[in-house]
Amino acid sequence: MIEQDVLERVLSSATKTGADFAEVYAEDKRSTSAGLDDGLVEQVTSGRDRGAGIRVIAGDTTGFAYTSDLSEAGLLAAAGAASAAARGGGGGVKTVGLTKAAAHRPNTIIHDPDSIEKARKVELLNRMNDAARAYGEQIVQVSAGYGDSRKRVLVANTDGVLADDEIVRTLLRINAVADGDGGMQTGYQSMGHTVGFEIFDTVDVEEMAREAARQAITKLQARPAPSGEMPVVIKHGTGGVLFHEACGHGLEADHIQKGASVYAGKVGELVANPLVTLVDDGTMPGEWGTLGIDDEGQRTQRNVLIEDGILTDYMWDFLRARKDGRPQSGNGRRQSYQHLPMVRMTNTFVMNGPDNPDDIVSSTPNGVYVAKLGGGSVNTASGDFVFGMTEAYLIEDGKITEPLRDGNLIGNGPKVLQDIDMLANDFSMGSPGTCGKDGQGVPVGDGQPTLRVKALTVGGTAA
């Protein structure tokens, strides 16, 4: 994308006003998406996003500028703007020699989506539409979307880092609407991986569509969710977002250093039930949040955050690691070349526990069984979090019974970690997610085995 000698000259130029550090992050992304709605493929879209963001750090101040012009002149102009923004004082030119590390690619791509005919991508959508509508006559509306992208990234900095990566992502989603006597209900399924088009050799897209249709039709019979505090059992592969919200964000070093997290100063302390081991791992092949390098050029790694209930570490990016004088953890991420990196999660999950999933339900006399969660959010300072349940059932006398209408769950991060009292051995990863922080969205994965929280507040409308 950019020659090494050009990068070296740009980095030297960026530090000539005396800054301590400079970085070039360049990307070249091609994407294709297609949407089906109301029985028609409405439109196929192709996009090209290409540019570089230049970050210059002087003392505690970061200057940042970006440009879509990847010529040496364009990069030098952005470097000048970023270093002026950082306002470094005095000093001579820093000579930069870049050393390229061996490429580290956890994701194997067989069929680059760019090489696949668009007609085959569109066909997936038509197959899903047909399957969802064939599932039941109550299905009155279906929308579906396909998306793929191939992003080449290049990171170089004045510490000598020179790294590149190529990230291919493939995504498919479907939303079904069912109409009945009591109004409309919805069902949703999605899948996303950092692999090529070969994913469709193994994913049954019709089954995905039928599952979305089944959820929507099931909810036509749903009753209002109960309200108040009660035991909540969460099905494997759907509750990872709970940990992403309830404690993941609170373990990001930027919140920790500003004292804006309930987990600040608690390394070595018991912060969860000893059943709980929480990991953030950017190296899991094919997962939605997987990266070879993070967006600061560091190899991603497996980071154990909570082990047997004890807080072991936080997640770190360049800036926060530098301030604390410790290594980075491969958690520096950004939405695109137009954004500054910050501490973010990759794939966050809770490991298996000792219990049998059926025993968890049968030993819960009354409560709620959540089969599918929607999105959530957290206030890292107070630890209060919320997330939506999009498929849930009552548990009565140890059995899963009636379906419930959509509602929210609310809790407090540190408390919910203590209140997990059963954890099964049926781990699976969940659906692809987008994590929003400070206005930036990045792809993340999550996962967990079936588990029980002994008391969580269910926000339904039933009295």
């Binding site: 297609a34 709605d37 493929v41 409405e42 439109q43 196929v44 192709s46 996009g47 090209r48 996003d49 290409r50 003392g59 505690d60 101040t61 200057g63 500028a65 970006y66 879509s68 002026a84 923004a85 950082a86 306002r87 668009k118 991508k121 569109v122 609407v177 109409d179 409309m184 919805t186 909810k219 969710a225 309200s227 004292g259 804006a260 137009q338 500054l340 929607g374 999105g375 959010s377 206030n379 300072a381 107070s382 209060d384 979090f385 919320v386 997330f387 939506g388 209408r405 959509d406 509602g407 929210n408 609310i410 809790g411 507040t457 269910v458 926000g459 339904g460 409308t461 039933a462 009295a463």
Partner: protein, 454 residues
């Protein structure tokens, strides 16, 4: 029109001139920039200065639509984008309603969307303003720390041209400051931290009210200290203006013409019905200069206009772009929304507000025996289903007892359905506040909401 805006118009015009027989083409070209300063403990934490540009091209042929975009305005790249959009046409299905917006003779309302004083504002002053805001927010209460204080401005210019005869260009700029706070109370296991925020928006920095932003950021954080989890019950709630604006944002998705024609709105067959309490009138009016998102033209180049959606509780109309209007057998209401050059026009409200009432929040609360003042809603994106209408969100606020606000409460949810909430509106406050979002806010009283706590 400035020289650079007319340059964008020429680029769009040149693309449209390349249309072949039987082909409709629309080119949307934009360029924009931003400055962002973040202050932490008296120092600049980061300073972002950036500019980006790009083009999106929509091609419709035989009812089929293709779209492509690129984040560059290089002449050679524009040719590639047009080729890609044409290639993409063949993979869509024919849709008899697919077409571009056509000029409808409605003249855009004159608006002053560009401010030279902001465009020329010195960088040093931007930093000083953010530092001043941090100082103000930090000095009010010993329990309050400042998480970050920010100054941000942005400018953009765009041009759209089409074979249907649309030709519109314009530019705008604006700025805001914001501050996030943390309030601490207690020690050890009893330690508690709550968050707050405050902001001020303007056409130029002289319009900022830094004092108010700092005070609100303090009040929001400290008011909730010591909050406990309430018991579950049904209550009358008073939504704070900022919360009401969020609620209106949710309502707007049910009045979206595209959702309606595709059978996804809970109001799809309800024009003329009483869908809200009699005192409720809901208007989308981007021509109101007080609205933060006021604008002269929509995303397809049609004049933005005032649309009354609900009048005295009765559903009057939905909002439409050219496509949803054709399908609905009506005309565009000038509500095409566009996220930038990388997307095609959607449909959405542009500047929504309830017709305000007359009383202040304090007067309203004085009449409530048992209620809840909601100051924050959390998890709206996950807890509200705009198709079924199910509504459940995390909340925090203050209990109301015998006409007075009392103890702070948190970690509970409020739930109802959108349909019921509109009918259960008891009063609209007179305290209208134009906020940096697509809807305005005022105190709003809704009866019979389920509060779920212990």
């Amino acid at each position: 029109m400035s020289d650079t805006t007319s340059e964008l118009q020429q680029i769009a015009d040149r693309v449209v001139e390349r249309a072949r027989a039987g082909e409709q083409i629309e080119a949307f070209v934009s360029r924009g920039g931003e400055t962002e300063v973040r202050i932490y403990e008296g120092e600049v934490e980061h300073f972002v200065a950036a500019q980006a540009e790009g083009i999106g091209i929509r091609v419709i042929s035989d009812g089929r639509t293709g779209f492509a975009y690129a984040g560059t305005l290089d002449e050679s790249a524009i040719g590639e984008v047009l080729d890609e959009a044409r290639d993409n046409v063949q993979f869509g299905n024919a849709d008899e309603y697919a077409s571009l917006a056509e000029p409808d003779g409605v003249a855009p309302t004159e608006q002053s969307l560009w401010n030279d004083a902001l465009a020329d504002f010195a960088t040093d002053r931007k930093i000083e303003i953010a530092k001043e805001l941090e100082k103000l927010a930090a000095g009010k209460d010993s329990r309050v720390r400042v998480d970050d204080a920010n100054y941000a401005d942005a400018w953009g210019e765009a041009a759209v041209a089409s074979t249907a005869g649309i030709r519109q260009a314009g530019r705008e700029n604006g700025c805001y400051v914001s501050v996030s706070t943390l309030a601490d109370d207690g020690e050890g296991d009893d330690a508690e931290t709550q968050t707050g925020f405050g902001f001020s928006v303007g056409n130029e920095p002289s319009e900022f009210d830094l004092e108010r932003a700092a005070t609100e950021a303090n009040d929001r954080a400290t008011r909730l200290l010591g909050a406990t989890k309430p018991s579950s019950k049904r209550v009358t709630v008073v939504l704070d203006p900022f919360v009401t604006a969020q609620f209106l944002g949710v309502i707007s998705s049910t009045l979206n013409g595209e959702a309606v024609v595709k059978g996804r709105s809970l109001f799809k067959d309800r024009i003329g019905d009483q869908v809200a309490a009699a005192g409720v009138t809901l208007v989308d009016d981007p021509t109101n200069p007080k609205a933060y998102t006021s604008t002269d033209v929509d995303g397809e180049g049609l004049a933005a206009r005032r649309n009354v959606l609900i009048e005295n509780g009765r559903l009057q109309q939905f909002v439409h772009n050219a496509y949803s209007a054709r399908r609905a057998g009506t005309v565009s209401t000038g509500n095409a929304t566009r996220g930038g050059f990388a997307g095609t026009p959607g449909v959405g409200c542009l500047a929504l507000s309830l017709e305000p009432g007359t009383r202040s929040q304090a007067e309203i609360i004085a009449d409530i025996d048992d209620g809840l003042l909601v100051q924050q809603m959390q998890g709206l994106h996950s807890g509200v289903n705009p198709i079924s209408g199910d509504f459940s969100t995390g909340a925090a606020g203050l209990l109301i007892n015998n006409g007075e606000v009392g103890a702070p409460v948190r970690e509970f949810t409020i739930a109802s359905t959108l349909q019921r909430m509109l009918l259960d509106i008891v009063e609209v406050g007179g305290d209208i506040d134009w906020l940096p979002m697509r809807s305005a806010g005022m105190s709003l009283v809704i009866s019979d909401i389920t509060m779920s706590g212990n």
